[in-house]
């Protein structure tokens, strides 16, 4: 990618993110308070959802990417797939941690305590712990191909487990998280959320691309190879 294209894309992304932030804090009206029929105890704090929701979604996308490249690695034994799986898992943990921390900030004002043992909150924390074990596993094996195989198998098993913990289990248990359609949100709120998802996805894709290229260079000595 030429520097001018890169600068242009960075400016587009920055402009998009700025627009989302301006919309989130100055355009979107907070939902009505509970006494007026609204579904949130702290309506003003709903703005943090523009950060929390995309981070949580991208965390799961990253775990699925780690699984997908894990499968590809087992089929082809191409170390590039191993690196892509590793970077996806790493970003999944970063975005997941971001979602968890922002969720706790939200929970503190909305539900009265930062930690509530809510099934989804607890599920995400367990999923992150499972992926931390993934890195421990990688660190414990020195031989690259063996490390790749074990990590791929782990990523393939960890992803459905994480998805079940975050999305499946909360459906069967009483949860503080709102279910889709439970609260009416304004059109501006929905559009800003869509913009935030888009902006976050762009940022995620860019970081993923850069991290993959750097890790490939450092680990495999690939030169000027753009994944």
């Amino acid at each position: 990618m030429s520097p001018s294209v890169r600068t242009f894309l960075a400016l587009v992304l920055l402009a998009g993110m700025t627009a989302v932030l301006i919309a989130a804090f100055f355009v979107v009206q907070a939902p009505p308070p509970p006494e007026e029929g609204g579904g949130f105890n702290a309506p003003q704090a709903t703005r943090i959802l523009f950060l929390h929701v995309p981070a949580a979604e991208l965390c799961t996308v990253a775990f699925v990417l780690a699984l997908w490249h894990g499968i590809l690695f087992l089929r082809t034994r191409n170390p590039v797939n191993d690196v892509r799986s590793l970077v996806a898992a790493r970003l999944g943990v970063v975005f997941g941690a971001l979602a968890l921390v922002m969720g706790m900030a939200w929970a503190n004002v909305e539900w009265g305590a930062a930690w509530n043992w809510d099934p989804r909150q607890t599920g995400l924390a367990l999923a992150l712990l499972a992926y931390l074990a993934y890195f421990a596993l990688r660190g414990a094996v020195e031989e690259p191909d063996k490390q790749g195989v074990l990590a791929a198998v782990y990523a393939i098993l960890a992803c459905p487990t994480a998805l079940f913990l975050v999305f499946g289990l909360p459906r069967f248990l009483p949860s503080l998280h709102l279910k889709p359609g439970e609260v009416d949100l304004s059109t501006a709120f929905s559009w800003t959320m869509a913009g935030a998802m888009l902006a976050f996805t762009g940022l995620f894709a860019w970081i993923y691309n850069l991290e993959t290229r750097i890790t490939l260079r450092e680990r495999l000595g690939y030169e000027r190879q753009t994944p």
């Binding site: 003003q44 703005r47 950060l51 971001l98 922002m102 260079r217």
Partner: protein, 40 residues
């Protein structure tokens, strides 16, 4: 929720977004340095 709480959440959001941007820039810088090292 009071204004201070909303302000704290706003600042936390900005820090998180800004942190991701700084991370992206640091990665780009690292890649550029690797590119430069590879150039004969």
């Amino acid at each position: 929720m009071n204004d201070t709480g909303v302000m704290a959440l706003g600042i936390a959001s900005l820090l998180a977004w800004g942190g991701l941007w700084l991370y992206l820039f640091s990665l780009q810088k690292r890649l550029d340095r690797l590119d430069k090292e590879d150039t004969p």
